[in-house]
């Protein structure tokens, strides 16, 4: 149809470049710092370990050995066993996978709910924006953990409803980011140009305005995944998240804490792994945010 008008502010790098360079400009801007690339590599490694690890383990996640419960680390059980005699290393691997999936589900929900509403509200002032602003302010007033508890109570246990509820309370973050970008960009010449050649609102929002919101949204995603993972683990710790067949780092911490006077060691693996996962996501978020602020230029 028409040539896409590249948003000039998406990169900050030289505006005219080859189409191939333009395509990955946002990604390259975000990853311009070496530290960010290292953190990203570690996260990819973590994902691989979480999804491949359980297959390599000689133990099943529900394989109990009641005679060998609460054992200290040994050659057979590198991280010892829990109160039911299950291999803690295997459980940690399963738990990590669940954490990552839960984080992805909650943040996916938040992005899907928040971004389109935010883009539209920022692009067009009017009654729609007033309504979505009120909804967003309401969601911000609801403590995520309390709402998730209530939803689980009403809808029944399980990670999925809990994470959907967490996703709903996280959605105002994406709404606000998308709205502020759309409000700034909609006054720019390229949006006016797109409108003048007859682009529909949907096309302008998806092709032109959204392109400028990608980088700040990616930053928000990394921070939010950390929060969602903590929420999942907290709910499971409280006994209203993951139900018995599935293994969560939260339920592991709970189990270890209940038996803390018998053996102190099992509390450490799940807690440390959660800390590492969330630390990696928040460092990635810090790195990406710095890249967005500096526009990818080295400081």
């Amino acid at each position: 149809m028409t040539t896409t008008i590249e948003p000039p502010r998406a990169g900050g790098a030289p505006v005219r470049s080859t189409p191939h360079r333009a395509r990955f400009r946002t990604a390259r801007m975000l990853l311009s710092e070496r530290r960010t690339r290292v953190v990203l590599a570690l996260l990819v490694l973590l994902v691989l370990v979480a999804f491949v690890g359980p297959l390599l383990s000689p133990y099943g996640s529900n394989e109990q050995d009641l005679l060998g419960r609460l054992q200290p680390p040994s050659g057979a059980h590198w991280l010892g066993t829990d109160s039911l005699g299950r291999d803690i290393l295997t459980l940690v691997l399963h738990g990590t996978r669940l954490s990552l999936l839960a984080g992805l589900l909650a943040v996916g929900t938040a992005v899907v709910l928040g971004t389109p509403a935010g883009l539209l509200a920022g692009y067009r002032a009017g009654p729609f924006g007033a309504i979505t602003n009120t909804v967003s302010d309401t969601l911000l007033a609801l403590p995520p953990l309390v709402l998730a508890l209530a939803v689980v109570g009403a809808y029944g246990g399980g990670v999925v409803p809990a994470m959907l509820a967490v996703g709903i309370t996280l959605s105002p973050r994406f709404y606000r980011v998308a709205r502020s970008v759309a409000a700034t960009v909609s006054k720019d010449a390229f949006v006016e140009a797109a409108r003048s050649i007859g682009c529909s609102t949907t096309r302008i929002l998806t092709r032109h305005v959204f392109a400028n919101a990608v980088a700040p949204i990616v930053v928000q995603v990394t921070f939010s995944i950390g929060l969602a993972i903590i929420a999942e683990a907290s709910l499971s710790f409280l006994g209203v998240g993951a139900a018995p067949p599935s293994v969560s780092l939260g339920t592991m911490a709970r189990d270890a804490f209940t038996h803390i006077r018998e053996a102190a060691f099992p509390i450490f693996p799940p807690c440390i792994v959660i800390a590492v996962i969330v630390f990696l996501f928040s460092s990635l978020g810090d790195g990406l945010r710095d890249a967005v602020v500096s526009g990818g230029r080295r400081t």
Binding site: T134, V135, D137, T138, L140, A141, L142, P143, P144, L145, V146, L147, L149, A150, V151, V152, G153, A154, Y155, G156, G226, I230, A231, A233, S234, F237, L238, G239, V240, G250, A253, A256, F257, I260, R261, A264, I267, C271, I274, A275, V276, I277, V278, F279, S282, S283, D286
Partner: protein, 316 residues
């Protein structure tokens, strides 16, 4: 002042109404028959019917919502049906409130007392070891949620070294030292994240303020650093920090839920978990509404504090 408060509360009305709708609709979310779920698996058909009536489920949705709004306005927030049948949900909340309030206040006080000097020191000596410590703490704090720190503190300080009572709660009437000894570990578990967030914000906004010309004037007059920072800079730097403090409240409320369970404290968080596990929906609904109102009230207080820190904002 009164006008400002009235205006803000009026502006919050749509949000408050929407919050009541959310908490009301929670019961509608129950798949199948809520009355059966609340009454339990062993209930006879008559008991299920009685529960249906006590939940008001025999009436039309709109009528029920209006009745619900009525119970909110009169302050009863509905009646408990499982935990303590017949007692107002608000009664149960008020009974648990002192515990949670003590916990919240102590952890926020710890947060401010540690974070403000840390942030000021980091801002005055950028790049020094204090700055580095604050930086490291900020990156780490997100990764250390209360339910990770809580058990670790209990394991190390209470179980291994017996320095503190491991779990439980004593009211303030038992004496301040006792009350505080029981609160210190749980409050610390919650405070770590606010310390980092507030400290970072104090540092950031103080750095901006210190670059302004009125600070240069104050320095040029020959005022001491203490006076320049304490009298001239800190108030201006406080506004963003107080905003962050206000934003921390939702997270602190979430933290109290977990921490109260870890430390076996009979507060609102424990009430929330118990009412969810026993399907006492009116209490769950009341808790959702109550915590949202608490957050809104905090936001209002934060807005009011701006006038104290910056006289230019008092009018208008």
């Amino acid at each position: 002042m009164t006008r400002f408060v009235a205006w803000r509360v009026l502006g919050m009305l749509p949000i408050i109404l929407l919050v009541t709708l959310v908490s009301f609709l929670l019961l509608e979310l129950v798949p199948g028959d809520p009355a059966r779920l609340v009454a339990g698996d062993l209930a006879t058909p008559e008991q299920v019917e009685a529960t249906r009536v006590s939940l008001g489920l025999d009436r039309n949705v709109v009528v029920r919502y209006i009745a619900y709004l009525g119970s909110v306005v009169t302050g009863s927030f509905g009646e408990s049906v499982v935990l303590q049948p017949g007692r107002g949900a608000m009664d149960l909340i008020l009974q648990a409130l002192p515990v949670t309030l003590s916990l919240t206040v102590v952890s926020l006080v710890i947060a401010v007392v540690v974070a403000v000097p840390l942030g000021v020191a980091a801002a005055l000596r950028r790049g020094s070891w204090v700055d580095q410590v604050l930086n490291g703490l900020t990156s780490l704090s997100l990764a250390l949620p209360p339910f990770v720190i809580g058990p670790l503190l209990v394991t190390v300080l209470a179980v291994t070294y017996n320095l503190f009572p491991a779990v439980g709660y004593q009211p303030l009437s038992a004496g301040f030292p006792v009350w505080f000894a029981y609160l210190l570990l749980p409050a610390l578990a919650i405070a770590v994240n606010p310390i980092a967030e507030i400290g970072r914000q104090v540092r950031g906004s103080l750095v901006d303020v210190l670059d302004q010309s009125y600070i240069r004037t104050a320095n040029a007059k020959g005022l001491s650093t203490t006076r320049v920072v304490g009298k001239h800079a800190i108030k201006n730097a406080a506004i963003p920090a107080v905003t962050v403090l206000g934003l921390q409240v939702t997270r602190v409320i979430g933290g109290t839920v977990v921490v109260e369970i870890i430390f076996a404290m009979p507060g609102i968080g424990a009430l929330a978990v118990n009412s969810v596990l026993s399907h006492d929906f009116p209490v769950v609904q009341a808790l959702v509404l109550f915590s949202a109102l608490a957050v809104l009230a905090t936001n209002l207080l934060v807005d009011l504090s701006y006038g104290y820190f910056d006289p230019r904002l008092r009018k208008g």
